[in-house]
Symmetry: C2
Subunit: 502 residues, 2 copies
Amino acid sequence: MLKPVNIDLETGISVCIINESDAKKLGVERDDRLILTNPSNRLFVAAVVDLAKDIVKSGEIGISSSIKQEIELESSNTIEVTRAEKPESFQYIIKKINNQALNFDEIKQLVEDIRHNKLSVIELTAYMTAVKINGYNIDEIYAMAKNMSDNGKKLNLNVDGTIVDKHSIGGINGRATMIIVPIVSCFDELYIPKTSSRAITSSSGTADSMEVLANVNINSEQLQTVVEKCHGAMVWGGAFEFAPVDDKIIKIERPLQMDPQGQVIASVLSKKLSVGARKVIVDVPMGKDTKVKNLVEAEDLSGKFVATGKKLGMEIRAVITDASTPCGNTFGPALEARSVLEILEGKTYDNLAEKACELAGELLEMCNVVERGQGYTKSREILKNGRALKKMKQIIETQGKKFDSSDKVPIGEFHEDVFSTKQGYVRDIGIANFTQIALASGAPFDKGSGVMLMQKQNNSVDKGDLLFKIFADNKDKLNYATNLAKKIEPVKVDQIILEEIN
Amino acid sequence: MLKPVNIDLETGISVCIINESDAKKLGVERDDRLILTNPSNRLFVAAVVDLAKDIVKSGEIGISSSIKQEIELESSNTIEVTRAEKPESFQYIIKKINNQALNFDEIKQLVEDIRHNKLSVIELTAYMTAVKINGYNIDEIYAMAKNMSDNGKKLNLNVDGTIVDKHSIGGINGRATMIIVPIVSCFDELYIPKTSSRAITSSSGTADSMEVLANVNINSEQLQTVVEKCHGAMVWGGAFEFAPVDDKIIKIERPLQMDPQGQVIASVLSKKLSVGARKVIVDVPMGKDTKVKNLVEAEDLSGKFVATGKKLGMEIRAVITDASTPCGNTFGPALEARSVLEILEGKTYDNLAEKACELAGELLEMCNVVERGQGYTKSREILKNGRALKKMKQIIETQGKKFDSSDKVPIGEFHEDVFSTKQGYVRDIGIANFTQIALASGAPFDKGSGVMLMQKQNNSVDKGDLLFKIFADNKDKLNYATNLAKKIEPVKVDQIILEEIN
């Protein structure tokens, strides 16, 4: 019997904290499990043990309010504490470490144990590392996607049409999604409830940029309303509980900068399943600075997306896109949002606009709303005739408008121009380098921070020509980013003859 | 600037706890790192972030007293907090996940970062899982052993002779070490400072059983005194800081029930290195219930021990021993200690005594203190003529005597006899089953708890014959263990004809 005290650590797992002396008595060590029973109603919960010297005294047990809720503990109650076995799925973790494939039921159990916070951080980390090294086969990816989706909420659109979706294997600048969604939403037969993440490694995610223009933090009922009205929406996926297990997994993967291929596919498709998507276009950007470096990897990943989608009852088209150079000329939430509006307003048409029209075109053809071969042309037409802009304004308005015209989007009040120190031609513009500078300037947290490129690859430049501008919401961060830019020289200006040997 | 509050979580890593709202402001998430600087002296330390809703309020930061000490924080100070990069060794973790071998300097950095608590639980778990799956080559095992030893204290014996040691790849009953050490210590030219662990998976470790007879919890100065006087000692290794990094690694491996082969070898050899051992005998018990299941595994493991030892300047002989049946007839700290004394007193000579004489013999031959081929005979002679018992009493006395004669060793006051329910012969006596029953009876925490076997393999038994006795310090645990024994039937009594088909 221990006396409960409040300890609200946000570990994401069910943890209890006991004094070292009690641990010795109970014969448990850190990361063992205890069953905590409310003696007055026999409700119980399993919790992983953490140890304390001071904050929890002998005779006490530190638990979170969620544990308290689960066993309906009154403030006066004490708790019965007994040793517990490891959860059933522990053996499947060992199995995956030993490079054996898991079957559907084993993955189902794993997902359920993750969902109910039954695995410790150590166990879940070991599992994800084993998945990274040993991989998943298609059946495992399918089981993971299906069970992650089944263990979460679903979007139930009350519509008569095809629900479609779009996903990019991220990490680059641009925000083609914010052009594709309004184009696709112009079709009465189509619905595109696009949920996006915030930036994980890049200087802006679709949710970050969209948030500059509209409210993206809406619940699933509101999302349903927006999509039923506008045929499209762009919101932050974290606000829904579409695949809560995926969030718990990402919390482990993020600090390890680890993205096991099979888990990434399962993660994406579980969410497509949860919104009820039937046709999905997946963008696989390929380039030296993206997640996918070469055609072999790109084709392998694409093939797995298509095969797993089929098992899930979805039609998927994966397109491998050129990411050898930045997509559009901006990095950072507000700068990228402004670029998107400029394209929708017809002020510019660059490689970002081109990409959006090509991808939207593919999706339109998949859905048979245009004739085969006409998707791209139709997309450009919708962009040019202003229907996409009108649709975008409707979506922004319906989600909760902040800004809907490019000249009103606020960008960082401080800026610095960076000039070429020599004459030559632009040999290389690295996405990774500009991402790094944009992150240093404060993006994605500081919405107005980022970088605007003033040159394209192969441009010829003179000494003193403007190469790029750095924007920031904060003067210190601007200086930090400017110094970094001078150090890493993200735009390589060279002459064709690199060296002369006499 | 945050106000420090005391949070003494025994996570084994350098952790600070901040409020969720401060985390958002700082742009960090759980498992990111902060640099904590004492503004009055500029001393700083890196700490991994954990988040809290309640226990740490906005504006506060929870830190352990060890962090406070490290930056010499007065109670009135506030702390400067800034985001920190991942430690250098993080990239080596990624490298190991990608199945690339690490070089000496990379492992050196890793060991140092583990030593200084710079890696988070997630990072260290990912590393150990990667080592489990991708393995180490001999150079990596060498680098790990060397650096783990260099990152700890060393035993500096002031002796003129050969320092030797013995290790078993554990998990079985018996305690041959407690017979080998007194035999070897009878030689003036040899010194055997044996440090042991407590049980990890078995019902008793050498330290658990020795602790029934003598004090094992002594510091390295005391160990030095005992060994210089008696030529041998048996103490608990956890009391020294011989390879503190190893302890931190074991804290991750234990909850995963994971023992990556290369890491096990490095762990053992780092400690042999720290006590200055030059000749080491390694016992590799092989059987269906031991860590090593077959000859291929046993030979592979043995070969790696020998090769790594050579690089470390040690001569190692690995012997593969038969563990198809229990070693001696007892399980549990006090019961095993009593068996050992009975053998030293000449009251019994069983397969445990035989094993000890064979292993001691090998070690004596390696050290050239007996002629080649005479080691085993010499060991039996020392056992029979009472010199080993005399030496054991001297060691017990010098370490701090509790008991030194078999009839005085206290065993559990409660016991239960288990009888055969049929007639036949003993087909199988499983080590794992008896370990499980002994654990259920309270071993290794309850010293007097355990099991005593009353039959050997291939004995013929009648219905009602005594098969084994269960001992316990506590009546409830005795009942629990007895019920378990009836369920798992650890002694398989069968008839030769198993079935008749007409």
